[in-house]
C-alpha cells in the first residue's frame, strides 16, 4: 500500500479533466417516498469528497448509486467517464473491480476468516496464491491488524471489523474508494484510528474517495490533517492549513444544500447549515 498507484486509464481520465464520479440530476425514491431529488455533483481525480447530513438524508443510497448497486429512477451517473446506465451487468462487475467500498456495518463475509475476506477479490481474479498471501499481509499491515489474520469476523471488535473492511477495499489498489460511515457506531478513540487510516490511504496512494460521516469532527480532521511519511504518523497541517483536495457535500432530505470547499463551509451564511455545523 506504500506506493502511489494510478492505472493508465485513470491517468488518461485525469489528463482529460473528466471527473471520476459525476451525478447529473439524479433522483430515486422507494415506496413512493423520494430519497434523492435532482442531485448533481462531481468528484474530480484525487479529490476527497465528504458527504455530510442528518441521518435518513439519502447518503448511503447515494453511495450505492455511485457503485451501480442500485439504479436511479432518473438522471445520469458517470463513473470513470462512463454512464452506469449504459453498462451491462458484466461491465458493471468489471467497473467495480476498480472501486473499493467500505460498508457501514463492515459487511465482512462471516463464514470466511480475515485472510479470505481480505483476499476475496484477488482470489476471484485468480491471482497467484503466494502473491495473494503477500498482498493480504501488506493490506493488514497497513491497517495494523496483521495479528488477526486467522480470526473470523465474529471474533473481532467493531473497530477491527471496520479496519479489515478497509484492508479488503484497498487490497486491489482501487482508483476510487467509497467509505460509507466508516466510524459509525464506534467510540471516539477507535474513530480517530479509522480516520487516521483514511488520511494515510488518501495521502499515500492519492486515491479519489467519497466518504460519508455523521461526525463533523471526523470530517474536519480529514480536511486539516495529513500523513507524514517520514514520521509515519498523521499530523495537523501546519499554519492551520487545509487539504485543498478535500471538498464537502451536504445533503438534507434528499437535496444538496451545500457543495464546496472546507473554507466555504465554515464561512457559510446559510442558517440551517450554520446550525448543523455548530
Amino acid at each position: 500500500m506504500a506506493e502511489t498507484v494510478v492505472s493508465p486509464e485513470m491517468k488518461e481520465l485525469a489528463a482529460s479533466g473528466q471527473p471520476i464520479v459525476e451525478f447529473d440530476d439524479v433522483s430515486i425514491g422507494f415506496d413512493g417516498h423520494e430519497v434523492l431529488s435532482n442531485v448533481s455533483f462531481t468528484v474530480a481525480h484525487g479529490e476527497t469528497r465528504i458527504l455530510l447530513g442528518p441521518a435518513g438524508g439519502g447518503k448511503s443510497v447515494l453511495m450505492k448509486l455511485a457503485n451501480g448497486l442500485i439504479e436511479p429512477d432518473s438522471g445520469e451517473i458517470r463513473v470513470f467517464g462512463r454512464s452506469l446506465r449504459e453498462m451491462s451487468e458484466k461491465e458493471l462487475f468489471e467497473m467495480r473491480a476498480h472501486v473499493g467500498m467500505v460498508f457501514q456495518e463492515s459487511a465482512l463475509f462471516d463464514s470466511l476468516d480475515v485472510e479470505d475476506n481480505v483476499a476475496y477479490r484477488l482470489e476471484e481474479e485468480h491471482v497467484d496464491p503466494k502473491e495473494i498471501r503477500e498482498r493480504v499481509l501488506e493490506a493488514l499491515r497497513f491497517v495494523e491488524l496483521e495479528q488477526v489474520i486467522d480470526k473470523f469476523p465474529s471474533e473481532l471488535s467493531g473497530g477491527m471489523r471496520r479496519r479489515v473492511s478497509i484492508a479488503r477495499a484497498i487490497i486491489s489498489k482501487p482508483d476510487l474508494i467509497l467509505y460509507d460511515s466508516p466510524t459509525g457506531g464506534l467510540d471516539p478513540i477507535t474513530s480517530t484510528t479509522i480516520m487516521e487510516l483514511v488520511i494515510k490511504q488518501r495521502d499515500v496512494s492519492q486515491t479519489t474517495c467519497l466518504l460519508i460521516t455523521h461526525r463533523l469532527q471526523d470530517a474536519f480532521t480529514l480536511a486539516t490533517h495529513r500523513f507524514n511519511p517520514q514520521e509515519k504518523r498523521v499530523e495537523k497541517i501546519p499554519n492551520n492549513g487545509i487539504d485543498p483536495r478535500t471538498r464537502f457535500l451536504v445533503l438534507n432530505e434528499g437535496h444538496i444544500v451545500f457543495d464546496g470547499t472546507t473554507l466555504e463551509l465554515t464561512h457559510t451564511k446559510d442558517p440551517w447549515l450554520r446550525e448543523y455545523i455548530e
Binding site: 448497486l69 462487475f93 468489471e94 467495480r96 472501486v99 460498508f103 459487511a107 463475509f109 462471516d110 476475496y120
Partner: protein, 259 residues
C-alpha cells in the same frame, strides 16, 4: 391493520413472478458461461446431498414399512397379500419416494438456503459481494441449483431402495411373506415408464427447492425477523409447489406412458 389495494396486490404478484423468473433464467444461463464456481458446487453437494442422507434413508425406510403394513390389511380382504411387494414398489418408485424425498430435502435445505442468503442480504454481504465484482447469482444461486438437482436425483433412488427394503422387512418379519416373492412381484410390476416417472420428478423438485430457497433468501428485508419470515415462506412455497408440480408431471407421464 391497513388493506392493500387489489391493483397494488396484483402488481406485487406480477413483480414477484418476474423477479423469480429472472433469477431462474440467470442461474441456469450461468451454467453455460464462465466463471464457474465448481468448488462451491461440490461444497453444496456435500451439504445438501450427504447432509440429507440420514433423513432420506429413515423417511424412505419407515414409509416403506408403513406402506406394507397398510397394504397388507386391505390386500388380505381379497386374499392378495402376496401383492404387497408390487404395491410397495410401485408406490415408492412412482410417487412416495420422489415426493417425500423432495419434501424432506425442501424442509431441510430450502429453509437453510433462505436463512443463509437472507442473513447475508440483511448484513449487506450480498451488496459487498457485488461491490467486490462477484455476481451473487453465479456464486450463490447457480451452485445450489446444480447441486440440489444432481443430489436429489440420487437421494430419490436411495429413498426408493430404502422404502422397498422397509416394505420387505415388514413383509418378511410381520406378514410372514417370502422375501423372494416380495422382490419378484415388485420387480415384475415395474415398467420403463414407472422408473422414468420416478426419476423425472426429483429433477423438478430439486430445481424448485433451490430456486425458491434462494429467491426468498435474496429478497429478505427487515433484519432477523425478515430472515425468519423468508425461511418459513421458502419451506411453505417449495413444499406446495413440489406437490403441485408432482401432480402435473404425473398427468404428463400418464399421457406419455399410459399408466
Amino acid at each position: 391493520m391497513s388493506f392493500i389495494s387489489p391493483e397494488a396486490y396484483a402488481k406485487t404478484i406480477v413483480a414477484s413472478v418476474q423477479e423469480y423468473s429472472l433469477l431462474c433464467g440467470r442461474s441456469v444461463a450461468n451454467i453455460f458461461s464462465r466463471p464457474r464456481y465448481t468448488a462451491d458446487i461440490f461444497t453444496q453437494m456435500d451439504s445438501i446431498g450427504v447432509g440429507s442422507l440420514p433423513i432420506v434413508v429413515l423417511t424412505g425406510f419407515f414409509t416403506g414399512c408403513v406402506l406394507a403394513l397398510q397394504a397388507a390389511v386391505s390386500l388380505k380382504e381379497f386374499g392378495a397379500v402376496n401383492m404387497t411387494g408390487e404395491l410397495v414398489t410401485l408406490s415408492m418408485v412412482k410417487e412416495l419416494g420422489p415426493v417425500l424425498t423432495g419434501l424432506m430435502v425442501s424442509g431441510r435445505n430450502a429453509s437453510g438456503m433462505a436463512s443463509e442468503l437472507g442473513s447475508m442480504k440483511v448484513s449487506e454481504q450480498i451488496d459487498a459481494m457485488r461491490a467486490l465484482g462477484t455476481d451473487p447469482y453465479r456464486k450463490l444461486v447457480t451452485p445450489r441449483l446444480v447441486a440440489t438437482v444432481f443430489m436429489l436425483f440420487f437421494l430419490t433412488i436411495i429413498s426408493d431402495a430404502c422404502g422397498i427394503a422397509g416394505g420387505a422387512f415388514v413383509s418378511v418379519a410381520l406378514l410372514k411373506l417370502k422375501a423372494a416373492t416380495f422382490f419378484h412381484t415388485g420387480y415384475m410390476s415395474l415398467e420403463h415408464g414407472d422408473v422414468v416417472e420416478g426419476l423425472v420428478k426429483p429433477i423438478f423438485s430439486g430445481f424448485i427447492i433451490a430456486s425458491i430457497g434462494c429467491y426468498y433468501g435474496l429478497r429478505t428485508t427487515g433484519g432477523t425477523r425478515g430472515v425468519g419470515r423468508s425461511t418459513t415462506q421458502a419451506v411453505v412455497a417449495s413444499s406446495v409447489i413440489i406437490i403441485l408440480v408432482d401432480f402435473l408431471v404425473t398427468q404428463l407421464m400418464i399421457g406419455i406412458f399410459g399408466r
